[in-house]
Symmetry: C2
Subunit: 450 residues, 2 copies
């Protein structure tokens, strides 16, 4: 199903649901791939989601769909079901999907559902919950395919055949462990086929396996997979015992999610924003706006400090917005470059000095250019105030330099303090740049014109 | 190699290179994975990159490294080599890597290098260049593994063994074609192992293969792979003939790249920014800053229209920055949510009306809240002007609503006009919001206070 077909499908499902033609909706749903149904869920409102989900009779299909819907939505849907049914649907999922949905379910409901799961299911989930949030231990699939070192290739293949459709579909690496489950090697399915059936897997495996610990942050796992073009990476404990694998499809979700999160955090919201009601949205944005508000109030006080200057030369007020805005523009760009560069690893901590210096150079080029243009405008349009052009142009240059410095330094500082630099650097940088810009402009104006 | 080790490695390589201890650098490089060397290249300056690359004697290793370095850098390095050597290094790469590097090489140099490649190499590259930029045809690997429908499983396996190390490493799907190379099915390597060796591949393959056309945009390919958790997707021509495959590692690069590009484009730069010299950086940002500059100049004119009001009530100037800034904050957030939502497909075109309305609701909640706070401040600190608090608070509310409308509408409009909404919506939204904010504020002040 291509994305362009979504609109047509949505329309028919909505029309049929409204008319109560549930059997027809069922027929449509049955013909779709679970991933397609999951995709449709993005565009249905909560009521529609519950209604449509209720029409899915097959519990295996239900598991597959909810594995692929975003976790907060899946959590909400499961919470509304009978606990027993919720447990049955959860049971059909991969361990990592179970955990990610249960993370979003209220604790008392979660315990209730866990009580309805089989003991082994519940135990393995509780084990994964021991690992920190957003760690490899939370996103790993414990349903991997591993063999003992002395198994022959032909035994390996028949083992694989026996696992059949039961095993996770994503088998492309075969992990090799010793008798105590220590990870000692890896080979691809294709490599298995390259040697005579009587050889042991040990003879074909690679010994230097790249693995991550269960505590590794998921973003680091993603970078590793990305760097080496892996399809999966094994997760081990402190003793190098194999715990699970993180597969490339999860890595794609992490990368997409983190990028969106970074973008939205910079402007003071988050990835869940679109799932929220209007009031929740306002509440999410309120604290970051408060930071901006307070910063701007400080700006008012700075401005008011120079109210004598302002009253004498009212024309100064005309250039306040442009001086602030151009500084803000420079600050936002520098900040974004640094935040994204740190997130993708494109900027290394060692290179930070160079990054700052280069941004200052760039700002000085742009500052001289636009400062001159603004000075010319001020001179020709408001030539009745002597030196106004000079003050305005110089203020723009200096405030652009200041903005580049703050735009680069603020995220770097947060990064060095181990605070995520993406979190609302936006409002802080903007309001700091604004109020300092006001100070620079008014101080210069007072010194030169008064 | 973990990311934390990069700094230590970089330091030793730099120290040794400066000392001229090239043999030691060679020894270090030989012990590293190509992906690690490629990673180091991000942090070396141009001179260091060329020097270090010159120490890599093995042309296969050189191919692997340049496949993984970002294309503009690889292009620069290849351009500086003898054409014959460049051709040899290119020859060792996958077709998609060849194309992506050649895209970044100046045309006359490119033709020169192509002339040094084998005829079949040059031909297949030229064929891929026929497809539009950023299309599946440009990023596909033409080195895939396909079998005729009537081949038996045992023949398939021996075929796979024969291809051996020559074939691309990423074999996990086996594509099945008819005698005229039409794509008719697919099965995983693992499925091949599940049936008796005497069966044909046709008996095990799935018939409904999801494929993309060579003209499909790479972002659509990425979304498809992401949605269905594919490891690769086949690329076909109009007649459904198999042309190549796009693998999941390329999809990861696309997703990461597009996210970075979206973030940076919004603030008026691009992904290549960090690779550029200071002057090129300034030149990249100049046009977007000009858009902001012109918008702000219009704001000055608006402000100047009301210079009588301003001269009479100078206190109005004090609140200019905060009214503009809070509007800008709302506008930037709304814009970012819409741009990212459209890019990830989280916001469908059909839902746009709802998105706009919800953003307006959110803005009105925040506008009332912060409008009241500002009105209170104006009343208590500058109570000597009657109704100043009222004007200031109301202006903030209205300009925040206006900002939410422009922040959502501008990217939507660009999207409907088939213009990438990420491209510098930032400066346009900011300057429009600023100048309209000035107009609202001064018009209200004049109407109420004068």
């Amino acid at each position: 199903m291509f994305i362009s077909k979504v609109d047509t499908l949505l329309e028919s499902i909505r029309k049929l649901t409204r008319r109560g033609a549930y059997q027809n909706v069922k027929n449509i749903l049955e013909k779709l791939h679970a991933a397609d149904v999951a995709y449709l869920f993005r565009y249905l409102n909560e009521g529609e989601q519950h209604k449509v989900f209720g029409l899915i009779a097959d519990s295996e299909m239900a598991s597959e769909i909810l594995s692929q819907v975003d976790s907060p939505t899946s959590a909400r849907i499961l919470t509304r079901l009978e606990r027993e049914q919720a447990a049955e649907i959860l049971h059909g999922m991969d361990p990592d999907d179970k955990v990610s949905i249960l993370e979003d379910i209220a604790e008392e409901v979660r315990d209730d559902i866990l009580a309805h799961l089989s003991e082994s299911d519940a135990e393995s989930i509780e084990e994964m919950f021991q690992y920190p949030e957003d760690s490899a231990g939370r996103i790993m699939n414990t349903n991997y395919f591993a063999l003992q070192e002395d198994v022959t290739v032909s035994d390996a293949i028949s083992e694989l055949q026996k696992k059949g459709a039961d095993a996770t579909e994503m088998v492309f690496y075969v992990y090799v462990v010793d008798s105590r489950n220590h990870l000692i090697g890896v080979c691809s399915l294709r490599q298995l086929l390259l040697v005579p059936p009587s050889h042991t897997v040990m003879s074909v495996m690679a010994h230097d396996v790249v693995s991550v610990s269960a505590e590794t942050d998921q973003e680091d796992v993603a970078r590793l997979v990305e760097k080496y073009d892996f399809l999966a990476v094994p997760v081990t404990d402190d003793e190098n015992k194999l715990l699970g694998i993180v597969t490339v499809d999860d890595v794609i979700d992490i990368i997409r999610h983190e990028a969106t999160e970074d973008i939205l955090k910079m402007v003071g919201t988050g990835d869940e924003y679109l799932n929220r009601s209007v009031f929740r949205r306002a509440r999410m944005r309120m604290p970051w706006m408060l930071a901006a508000f307070v910063g701007e109030i400080i700006g008012i006080q700075f401005l008011n400090m120079y109210n004598v200057t302002l009253e004498k030369i009212v024309a100064l007020a005309l250039f306040l917005p442009i001086i602030i805005a151009m500084g803000g523009n420079i600050g936002a760009t520098s900040m974004t470059i640094v935040v994204r560069g740190l997130a993708t690893g494109r900027i290394a901590v060692k290179e930070l000095r160079v990054v700052i210096l280069k941004e200052l150079y760039v700002a000085s080029i742009l500052g001289v250019l636009y400062g001159l243009m603004l000075a010319a405008l001020a001179y020709f349009q408001f030539g009745d105030v002597n030196y106004l052009g000079f003050v305005v142009g110089l203020s723009m240059l200096i405030s652009m330099l200041m903005a580049a410095a703050i735009g680069t330094l603020m995220p770097i500082l947060l990064h060095l303090l181990k605070i995520d630099p993406a979190v609302a650097t936006g409002p802080f940088v903007t309001s700091t740049v604004d109020s300092l810009g006001i100070l620079i402009y008014m101080a210069l104006a007072t010194a030169i014109l008064m």
